[in-house]
Subunit: 281 residues, 2 copies
DNA sequence: CCCGGTTACGCTTGTCGTAAAGATT
DNA sequence: AATCTTTACGACAAGCGTAACCGGG
């Protein structure tokens, strides 16, 4: 189970082609074929059907493992390299769209910081693998509970803010004038699934009316205000949206929480910024 | 970052000896030396000091990554192999000491099951790496929240029971006759840290009076009753203990929860048993 | 001087690429 | 027939072991 073999395996599965994976990885088709054969021999199982190229059940299982595995591997290498690398003055911070609240943004120093907006699910990986020096993620959690993040690497997680939740409704929605809502009230409603922007409780993800793949908050709010579906937002954000109506969510007791992520061995510049950000909350 | 190199690295670090690791892994000292040299060259950093052999800061960082990484690797291999392996009728279940409640034990079939008692932290790994076909873990969580388990592999987690918490005190403890306790009341108390048996909230782990490394519940209760420190237990268990006094914990709102763990591809016998166990709750 | 880690060197093994063959649409 | 995977084979590099070397207690 050499990581190289795993890497070619996921490439082949993703591209559904041996030759495509070979091109992407800089191998010959022959080498890719040998990689897959080696894996299959090692695991005593067919991992891919050929023609068409698709993962078998065993291959699907392996794929589920391979992603996190390769991620952790990159994270480990990046983490150790970060210790040795000469620390540059610049810091790049991975932020999910809703994680950058006004207080946090105000605490940023005038220079030397680069912000990279990513989907929440990508932020931990970006920090772990060294693409970014710090991360700000947001998500749903029980009050004063830390966020449940995939543990791609031993990251330092620090709470950086909590807010209530509100549902963003079109202005003419029957519930638009309610003082508060329970999630049960909206059991039959259609939600917009926007994994790149807004958090969604498990119960909501069942049958999204619309899927928005971007990371633009305003676009999402416009969609919601136009009646394409409901969106769950932190109250402060929902209240500031011009269009539509924001109604606080009373049940279940969930909060919108944002966390600061730092790698195990942050650069001096990164830990200075982290201290500044946590002090400002 | 070949896993083989990582494996030798953790062995060398654990044994604090190149030659020792060589013996353990079936290599020559020379090969081990080359492994470490290769890793250090790859990561551009000294990982170990020689004479005495001890990890450098960079080595410590790598060690933190290496464990979970190698675990996941084993888990992946085991998970795929499980699909191919002929499913034997026997099922072995990893259980943490407090996870096996009477209802669950009653639901076990008469034959074909092996129970293996492990520390809670070891159960997910045992299931993931294929040592066991199912797992029952217990731990602390907010009410109706799933347990926070290390994600060594994509395991199926099913709730299998919740109970309140109680503190086990010596019978002559000043609080022994109270109807309920808050954790704050016990801020200055000394606790027994028993990671192999009883869960402990983060706040408690600060300065344990005693550390109990075994997995024997009765031994732990005897220690607590004898005044060596306090222990947190599920109420049903604490109430059934002969010695000492069990006082329910009212704050914070935590519960003792047990979860059933199944690998991504359980054997037929394992999933049959899992169905039986979940039906019985 | 001994114990233990490093370095040198030869051998085996594995891995990749070229090229031919086989299979599928 | 064209495209894509597999197989055969030769070249090269990597990895391990033996053995000599070196540095600290």
């Amino acid at each position: 189970m050499d990581p190289h073999l795993l890497r070619t395996f996921v490439a082949v599965a993703r591209l559904a082609s041996f030759s495509g994976a070979a091109r992407e990885l800089g191998y010959t088709q022959s080498a890719v074929s040998q990689h897959i054969a080696a894996l299959e021999g090692d695991l005593c199982a067919e991992l891919l059907t050929r023609r068409p190229v698709a993962p078998t059940p065993a291959g699907v299982r392996l794929l589920e493992h391979a992603g996190p595995l390769l991620l952790r591997l990159d994270a480990a290498r990046a983490d150790v390299l970060r210790l040795a690398a000469a620390p540059p003055g610049r810091v790049t911070v991975a932020v999910s769209p809703l994680a950058a609240g006004p207080r946090l943004l105000a605490a940023l120093p005038a220079t030397g910081v680069t912000l990279r907006v990513l989907a929440p699910a990508e932020v931990p990986a970006a920090v772990a693998t060294g693409g970014c020096d710090l991360g700000l993620v947001d998500g749903l959690a029980a009050p004063s509970d830390p966020l449940r993040l995939p543990d791609v690497a031993p990251l330092t997680v620090t709470g950086a803010g909590e807010d209530g939740l509100a549902v963003l409704l079109p202005a003419d929605h029957p519930f638009a004038r309610r003082a508060s809502l329970r999630l049960d009230d909206l059991a039959d409603a259609r939600w917009i699934d926007a994994p790149g922007v807004a958090p969604a409780p498990a119960a909501v993800r069942t049958a999204p009316a619309l899927r928005y793949a971007g990371t633009d908050l305003h676009a999402l709010c416009a969609l919601a205000a136009a009646g394409h579906g409901l969106v769950l937002l932190p109250r402060r954000v929902a209240g500031a949206v011009g269009a539509g109506a924001a109604v606080p969510l009373s049940e279940p007791r969930l909060v919108h929480r944002t966390e600061l992520l730092a790698p195990g061995a942050p650069t001096p510049a990164a830990s200075a910024l982290a201290a500044r950000l946590t002090a400002s909350r």
